[in-house]
Symmetry: C2
Subunit: 217 residues, 2 copies
DNA sequence: CTCAATTTTTAGGCATGCCTAAAATTCAAT
DNA sequence: ATTGAATTTTAGGCATGCCTAAAAATTGAG
């Protein structure tokens, strides 16, 4: 499967594109941990395959078929994460790494079976939306926990899923999607937040609070 | 993972080695659907890696570490087959193809979880033995159904798992591992067998009967 | 034992996807 | 508008794993 390489490029382009618009060579290189020169070369090939539009020095953008593949892989990734968590009891800080490999080998038939077994879920273990078979996805409106004010009660919607250590740290406090918490105090000068979860109080560093998305209750 | 290529070579060598001793370049090439010239080249690399012993024109043999990897992959393959069948309800004629891809991406942690979930199984859906974590495997003594005489009652131990069509055919008659059947008649001149399974009679072609292993009851 | 058929290896190539170093282009500060 | 810094591309290479055609070694039939 050299498919894997293409799929990882498209997924990375998708992620950057949906968070910051145009996708520069360097940004892609940093995300994929590949030299910019190699990215340029590969991006030309993707362009030849009509998976991205590419203008020299201007960055890339997914075409419709590129987007379709990206969402397909994303669906695989998130379904697998949930499947691993639910069916095999894999802790939420380990599912990402495993799904990163499985996503490329899962057949459509297995995708459907997993989807059905899980009851056609719409969110992965980190709260990220799972695209449906048509590539449609419900992005819930969400706010950064770090931007909220003291006194508010919020519900966790999603957390960043790349940092295993962070996930273990959050898990230790019971900070999972759909969990409710109160913001007791927000220290000034970008200081930590004091929060209350399930009747326990914790101090949460700014860095951590910036990885957590919430909605107001 | 170009690991995949090496793992597939070692698995193929293992299969040939355990059924017919020495492993010739051509046999390996045929099984892997790769030209003999390419096999020679790759086999040299495997030899450099100490995964096989290789003497020009004489074929290859797995070293201890080559054997270890082969059995590891085989364990993955068979555990996955059973997992797919049990956990996802995948029909037994489809599990092989899927496992062929998954076997190369499964982490040791997932292997252990699947193994535990299935209750440390010793047989895959086709009756093939699953090597344990140490690469040990219980090969049951088995006879070819095609070689048996009329009048005998036998139990299916294992069936060949490569031919999807055959598996569907056998499944239609309920011919799975651990199923008991009576041999009513064996037509002469390599003719078909008449068998009785779960009170129904079937005529089974020689070709099919040669793909089925049984033990006498 | 010989030699033609078969098997296996060698030689030379190709595609993929990565790299570093150097050149080209763009950006941004004056 | 200039120019130096940063970004991006080009050029030239390398490893992996496959191929075909040709050469070498083995085998086995007579
Ligand atoms: Mn991936
Ligand atoms: Mn996730
Ligand atoms: Mn395989
Ligand atoms: Mn099997």
């Amino acid at each position: 499967m050299q498919n894997q390489v293409i799929e990882d490029y498209l997924k990375a382009i998708y992620k950057i594109q949906t968070t910051s618009g145009k996708v520069a060579t360097t940004a892609l290189a940093r995300r994929l941990k590949i030299s910019p020169a190699s990215v340029t070369q590969m991006v030309k090939k993707l362009s030849d395959m009509n998976l991205v539009t590419y203008t020299r020095y201007q960055g890339v953008e997914l075409t419709e078929s590129g987007m379709k593949i990206a969402l397909e892989v994303l669906r695989h990734h998130r379904l697998i994460e949930l499947f691993l968590a639910e069916a095999l009891g894999v802790p939420w800080d380990k599912v990402h790494e495993e799904a990163e490999k499985w996503e490329h080998v899962l057949s459509e038939d297995m995708e459907d079976r997993i989807d059905a077994l899980l009851g056609h879920p719409t969110r992965d273990p980190h709260g990220a939306p799972i695209p449906n078979r048509n590539g449609e996805m419900v992005e819930t409106s969400r706010l950064l926990l770090a931007d909220q004010k003291a006194g508010q009660t919020v519900e966790i919607v999603q957390v960043h899923d790349h940092d295993s250590e962070l996930l273990r740290y959050l898990g230790g406090m019971g900070l999972y999607p759909n969990v409710e918490l109160q913001i007791l105090e927000v220290a000034p000068f970008e200081g930590p937040l004091t929060i209350k979860v399930a009747d326990k109080e914790y101090t949460l560093g700014r860095k951590a609070a910036e990885q957590i998305f919430v909605r107001l209750l």
